[in-house]
């Protein structure tokens, strides 16, 4: 397909188009059809590259994406990789493990994608336009249709082979009515490898389906990470996300959840911990489109040294969603003199039969709580570490799988050395 011309083209979009043209003929149809890739390319050309003047991209480290040397993936076909060279986490008891290395499945540890369309092609909004990159360049897809009750762990690992290039993890998931799934999605990467990881996740929940989705982002410190998620919930479906973001040099999560069926419920509990020059930006939009739908959002962010943590939580309640109930609790803690926290709790309400509230706080540790601990003979550094640990505790405790919670705790504590020192980990 010919490269589109548009007035919205910029240097980076031109570069992406060139990289795409170079590999387009070799990208597998099984992951994304050629026609769909072409549509995504045209859409990206139409939308153009975001700038920090765009409301939804104000806090993203776009420069990090612009500095990516090569957008084309290096590994194009599934292979049986040498997994011994990778430091994979221990298997979770009772979970089926699917392994994807540099965006393609390890043939020994992942199913081939079905030819069925698991979820309809996602139309990404302008706020989610990085999802178009994955649609253009994806080399494989984990496509899962769930009936009954399941527990699946999907590991997306970046290896040394992807250094200096890009990989495009892709997950499509459909839960049949009444089914239940515990899903663990982990992004891991060897440190010291400058790589673009650009993941797409598309989810559909049938009537009464229940999904608990654990997401751990532990990419290498030089990784530029983009993660675009779309979920659609029908009647009485329930979707819970527990997300821990600690890796990558710069990360952007763009998630949109549509509560399209009566009584659908969504819960989002997330932490982000950054240090050094890390930037974590999350933009979550939840659309209440049906009556009696519920959202509960909790975010905790700690920015140490020169890190920036940003969270934008946008809840939109349509006129067709009477009885909606929405809550947001966003809290940020700044630990470093050069650090920054940006919070945007947004409510957009178009009917009067709703309950909606949000609270957002940012600042240092509470001096009253500190005094309470000091008065009990606890030294200042231990008291600080305990309070920081408690700050993250709400979300970490919501991870119900002990082994995974321990991994998340160790990951978070790795970012905050004083916590490691007090031995608070399980």
């Amino acid at each position: 397909m010919a490269t589109p011309t548009t007035t919205h083209r910029s240097g980076i979009v031109d570069r992406i188009m060139r990289d795409y043209d170079a590999v387009a003929a070799r990208l597998p149809d099984a992951a994304v059809t050629r026609a769909a890739r072409g549509r995504s390319m045209h859409e990206l050309a139409r939308l153009g590259w975001p700038t920090t003047r765009d409301e939804q991209w104000r806090y993203t480290n776009l420069r990090a994406f612009e500095r990516v040397a090569e957008f084309a993936p290096r590994v194009l076909t599934p292979a049986s990789g040498d997994t011994a060279a990778l430091e994979l986490p221990p298997a979770l008891p009772g979970f089926e493990r699917l392994l994807y290395i540099d965006g393609v499945r390890d043939v020994a540890a992942a199913r081939a994608p079905t030819r069925d369309t698991i979820v309809p092609e996602t139309v990404w909004s302008a706020e989610q336009r990085l999802g178009l990159l994955c649609d253009m360049f994806a080399t494989d897809v984990a496509s899962l249709r769930i009936r009954g009750s399941s527990a699946i762990e999907v590991l997306f690992v970046t290896s040394a082979a992807a250094a200096g290039a890009a990989c495009y993890p892709r997950l499509q998931l459909a839960l049949e009515p009444g089914s239940q799934l515990q899903l663990v999605e982990r992004h891991l990467g060897a440190p010291e490898i400058p790589t673009l990881v650009c993941a797409n996740v598309a989810i559909e929940l049938g009537r009464g389906a229940q999904l608990t989705h654990y997401r751990l982002q532990q990419c290498g410190v030089h990784t530029v990470f983009a993660d675009t998620l779309s979920a659609q919930l029908t009647d009485e479906a329930s979707y819970s996300v527990r997300q821990v973001a600690i890796g990558a040099a710069s990360a952007r999560t763009s998630a949109q959840v549509q509560l399209a069926g009566r009584g659908a419920a969504f819960s989002w509990q997330a932490i982000a911990v950054g240090r050094a020059q890390q930037v974590h930006d999350t933009a979550l939009k939840v659309e209440h489109r049906a009556p009696d739908t519920r959202t509960d959002e909790v975010f905790r962010g700690i920015a140490d040294e020169h890190a920036r943590i940003a969270f934008s939580g946008h809840i939109h309640i349509a006129a067709a969603a009477p009885g909606a109930d929405a809550r947001q609790s966003l809290r940020g803690l700044i630990e470093g003199a050069g650090a920054e926290i940006d919070l945007r709790p947004r409510l957009e309400i178009n009917t009067d039969q709703v309950k909606a509230q949000h609270g957002a706080t940012t600042g240092a540790l509470d001096e009253n709580l500190m005094f309470y601990l000091l008065a009990r003979g606890i030294d200042r550094s231990t008291a600080r570490a305990l309070l920081k640990w408690a700050f993250l505790g709400d979300v970490l405790r919501a991870i119900e799988l002990p082994q995974l919670r321990s991994a998340a705790e160790h990951g978070a504590a790795g970012q905050l050395p004083d916590i490691m020192a007090i031995g608070a980990l399980t």
Binding site: A337, D342, P345, R346, E348, D352, A360, A364
Partner: protein, 480 residues
């Protein structure tokens, strides 16, 4: 306020919608350099001000109208607006109230604005702005005895050019935003206040803005400077005739508070809101910003927004001086098809600066009300604090309430707390009132008054009464 009073008010329509039949000097619609030069010539302005206007015009011509606000309206044809309209008057203008056209005095009498001598009892000095010009200012002598300058902007240009040159555009530069830049090019009048060091202004100052002529816009500019240790309380009111066409109002207000100074700025905005079908009404695009330039300075914005078809307004504080304080108290009511996107910005630069934001939004009918606020703590804002409370009340299944706060913190010792809630009037509250024999409409008015109480108590007494009256009127027909 007693419930029969509210009942009477609820059944009234917009009472300031009359037109004054007065001969006006109005320039042809359209905007180019010749219009700007004409305005400047009519005002007899010094060269620096003309140059400033022209720079603004050139900058504006390269700007795009912003559309990020949660507002929907028909495109504004800036070429169809007349940028200057003033009542015809003797060449030298009125020397005193006795020289003012009786029709104008009658207009303000009808609006209840105290311009006559009997107004002494009210103890409020008033500057009355009619379309593009100030027509009268009261109590100038008494204020001048205290050293306070309170005069029309065009008079300040002639008599106090040094002050003007020093402070004009120092808080809202002519490049600030689309509407402020437009205002900088074509502003015609407004109020100027300077309170010298250590002076507590002996009375409330008030400006009353009135749009009268058709197909015109109003572009006034207000500049208030409180020097070291000074205090001033300033009130602003506004009305317009009922017309089926929309009219543009794009004002700029700049406040400067030096060391230990305090400025209290109160607004009751009652521009014509359009009819029950959303026809007509004022497009109100206003830039208001204050800068606490000195230590321990304080700027307080209190606003009651009941009018206008479209409101786009974010009174803000730049807290530069150590220990300075910014406050924003707001009630914004929308009914029928009114839309408001309003809020504030608190930018903390100095150490130990504090800000408080209390915003109450009420949406009825098909009204759309958005709170948009920024709290920004810069790295230098050690120990700074902000508290924000943002509540919305919905009165109708077709109404909308939206909250768009931005919190940006870059200092580890700064604290920001933000709370917001959206609800409708609770069944329990209504039941409690009804059970005691209070009618539904009265009960709703009482509950709404209670909802807004924290803001009303910040208003000067005369304004608080007017604000409460207006609130009841603006919610007319919302209870069904």
């Amino acid at each position: 306020m007693s419930t029969p009073d509210i009942d009477a008010l609820v059944n009234r329509s917009y009472r300031h919608g009359f037109i004054t039949d007065i001969e006006s000097d109005t320039v042809a619609p359209g905007l180019d350099e010749s219009v700007v030069r004409l305005i400047s010539r009519k005002k007899g302005e010094p060269q620096f001000l003309l140059d400033w206007r022209l720079r603004a015009l050139r900058h504006w011509q390269g700007m795009r109208e912003p559309h990020w606000a949660h507002l929907r309206y028909q495109p504004i044809d800036y070429g169809a607006i007349s940028y200057y309209s003033a009542p015809k008057q003797a060449k030298d203008g009125p020397k005193s109230l006795a020289d003012v056209d009786p029709k104008l005095l009658a207009t303000y009498e009808k609006l209840g604005v105290p311009l006559h001598e009997r107004a002494r009892l009210a103890g409020v000095a008033v500057d009355a702005v009619f379309d593009s010009v100030s027509v009268a200012t009261t109590f100038k002598e008494r204020l001048s005895a205290a050293g306070v300058i309170f005069c029309p902007f065009s008079e300040a240009v002639q008599k106090h050019p040094a002050l003007l040159e020093r402070y004009l555009g120092s808080v809202v530069p002519y490049t600030d935003n689309f509407y402020a830049t437009l205002n900088s090019a074509v502003f015609t009048d407004g109020s100027f206040v300077y309170v010298p060091p250590g002076v507590r202004c002996p009375m409330e100052l008030s400006t009353y803005f009135r749009i009268n002529a058709a197909n015109t816009g109003q572009f006034e500019r207000t500049l208030i400077i409180a020097d070291k240790g000074a205090y001033v309380s300033y009130l602003e009111g506004c009305t317009a005739p009922m017309r089926d066409e929309n009219q543009l109002h794009a004002a700029v207000v700049e406040l400067v508070a030096l060391d230990d100074a305090q400025i209290k700025y109160s607004t009751v905005q009652n521009w014509y809101p359009g009819d029950e079908n959303g026809r007509g009404g004022i497009y109100n695009f206003v830039t208001k910003r204050g800068e606490c330039r000195g230590r321990n300075a304080r700027i307080s914005w209190t606003q009651v927004e009941t009018g206008s078809a479209i409101t786009w307004k974010y009174p803000s504080c730049i807290l530069r001086g150590e220990n300075s304080v910014g406050e924003f108290y707001s009630v914004a009511t929308v009914n029928n098809y009114q839309q408001a996107d309003t809020g504030t910005k608190m930018v903390h630069i100095g150490a130990n600066t504090r800000s408080t934001i209390v915003s109450k939004g009420i949406s009825a009918g098909h009204g759309q009300n958005a709170y948009r606020g920024l709290v920004k703590m810069l790295p230098s804002a050690t120990g700074a604090r902000n508290f924000t409370q943002c509540d919305s009340l919905l009165m109708g299944k077709n109404s909308g309430a939206h909250t768009f706060p931005y919190i940006e913190v870059r200092n580890p010792t700064a604290t920001v707390e933000h709370e917001a809630s959206t609800s409708r009037i609770s069944e329990e509250q209504l039941f409690y009132c009804l059970q005691r024999g209070i009618g539904t409409e009265d009960a709703v008015n009482m509950i709404v008054s209670g909802f807004c109480r924290t803001v009303f108590k910040e208003l000067p007494m005369e304004f608080a009464v007017e604000a409460q009256n207006l609130l009841a009127v603006s919610l007319e027909g919302a209870v069904g």
